[in-house]
């Protein structure tokens, strides 16, 4: 038996399964019997998107853009090939657009119609991104949504919301935090959060510098 049943080895009888678990299991059995799907391929898809593809990839792109002005220029001009330079790309990111935050403009990404999200750089979207409150409000009250994420922008910062209504996929290039001069790319990437690349967050604040020991 393929190992995909490892998820629910505890349940040996249909009666132990919730209705939706039973329904999904029946569907997979049927599609497998008919030869439409291979459970080993399903396992590989889950493994790819649960453990390999994620926001660490986007963080690498951002960190590279912070240290390499020529890469940043290529990224903003035509994001898909620039991102591919880091061996990042694929389904849900075939047509990437990167938008840059500045003191004047903050960018926020949403998909009001469904759940379009740049998978290769950010992984699969979180539930809140796919749920009605965010999809409904991001376009009409972006400043209020940001406050709920703990982000209060200066009134002078204008907000541009990018509604992902086609196959173009947006990623935000956040502003590089102050006091990071001389940081390595890896150290910079560690400051880049998923939400800072959606626009609902900012990069991590730097740890407070240790006070010089005076003992």
């Amino acid at each position: 038996m393929s190992h995909h049943h490892a998820d629910h080895d505890h349940a040996h009888h249909g009666s132990d399964l919730s209705p939706i678990e039973a329904r999904v299991r029946a569907l997979e059995s049927l599609l497998t019997e008919k030869g439409y799907v291979d459970p080993a391929a399903l396992d590989a898809l889950v493994e790819l998107y649960e453990t390999k593809v994620g926001p660490h990839a986007g963080a690498r792109v951002v960190a590279r853009a912070w240290v390499d002005p020529e890469f940043r220029a290529r990224l903003l001009a035509d994001a898909t090939p620039a991102i591919a330079e880091l061996d990042i790309g694929g389904r849900g990111g075939e047509h990437m657009v990167v938008v840059e935050n500045t003191p004047e403009t903050h960018n926020l990404v949403v998909c009001t119609l469904c759940s379009c999200y740049p998978w290769p750089v950010l992984g699969l979207p979180p539930v809140w991104y796919k749920a009605p409150p965010y999809r409904a409000r991001a376009v009409i009250d972006p400043r209020g949504v940001l406050v709920e994420f703990g982000v209060t922008l200066p009134e002078t910062t204008r907000i541009t919301v990018w509604d992902s209504t086609a196959e173009t996929r947006y990623m935000v290039l956040p502003m590089r935090p102050a006091e990071t001069r001389g940081f390595t790319e890896d150290a910079l990437a560690a400051l880049v959060t998923r939400d800072s690349m959606i626009g609902t967050g900012l990069p991590k604040a730097l740890p407070v510098a240790p006070v010089e020991a005076s003992v």
């Binding site: 995909h4 049927l30 799907v37 399903l42 047509h95 119609l113 469904c114 009409i140 907000i159 209504t165």
Partner: protein, 219 residues
């Protein structure tokens, strides 16, 4: 269609509630639904636009009351039935009662990661010049197709400006319904928040959508 999926500007859904340290999936069945939806899409029995159309065709009350992967599951079952790949009775029993129908291809484990890391572009070659250019003033047409469309209601009838000519892409409105890819010019159109929401719009705010050429007319 003016369905429950078209949420931009809706009110009353409450605050956004992020989940700290959220897992990629919240239940084992979600993993299987996610993977089955991708693998069945790969067979070519339908396309991504058709999947979106099936999801947003759920009755509005059911759409809004269903979790994300429950919507995927219901749409997947609908598409399987609609394409004759299996019957509702077979899906209920989990056992085949009829022979399988041929599909164009099936997804194998070997090479899968490379295939998904390569992607499935929706861009197509242009066979006509673009009607609009950057900085052109446009109006999003006030249309209400009963089938699939990617023009959200909140921009219809509103005046915007072309900020990027994105290229030529598969046209979802026909592709979703088996009526062909009809490669069509796509533009990024910027609207001021106050054009969209009047005095309730965020001062200085901009909202952009990606809009296909037939959604637009010159302003």
């Amino acid at each position: 269609m003016n369905g429950a999926q078209d949420l931009g500007g809706a009110q009353g859904f409450g605050p956004v509630v992020p989940e700290p340290d959220e897992p990629v999936f919240h239940a084992a069945w979600e993993r299987r639904v996610f993977a089955m939806a991708l693998a069945m899409g790969y067979t070519g029995a339908w396309n991504l636009d058709g999947s979106r159309a099936a999801r947003e065709s759920l009755p509005p009350a059911e759409y809004l009351a269903s979790s994300y992967y429950a919507i995927w599951l219901k749409a997947l079952e609908t598409q399987i039935t609609a394409t004759g790949l299996a019957t509702p009775a077979e899906m209920q029993s989990g056992k085949a009662a009829e022979p399988a129908k041929p599909v164009a291809r099936t997804l194998a484990r070997d090479g899968l990661e490379a295939r998904f890391r390569a992607g499935f572009p929706s861009s197509r070659a242009a066979d006509a010049p673009a009607r609009f250019a950057v900085d052109d003033a446009v109006i999003a047409r006030n249309i209400h197709p009963t089938g699939h469309t990617r023009l959200p209601r909140y921009v219809r009838g509103k005046r915007g400006r072309i900020v990027r000519v994105d290229g030529v892409f598969v046209f979802p409105d026909t592709s979703a319904h088996g009526a062909g890819e009809n490669p069509t010019w796509l533009y990024t159109v910027a609207f001021t928040a106050q054009e969209l929401w009047g005095e309730d719009g965020d001062p200085g705010g901009i909202v952009t959508v990606a809009a296909f050429e037939p959604y637009l007319e010159p302003a």
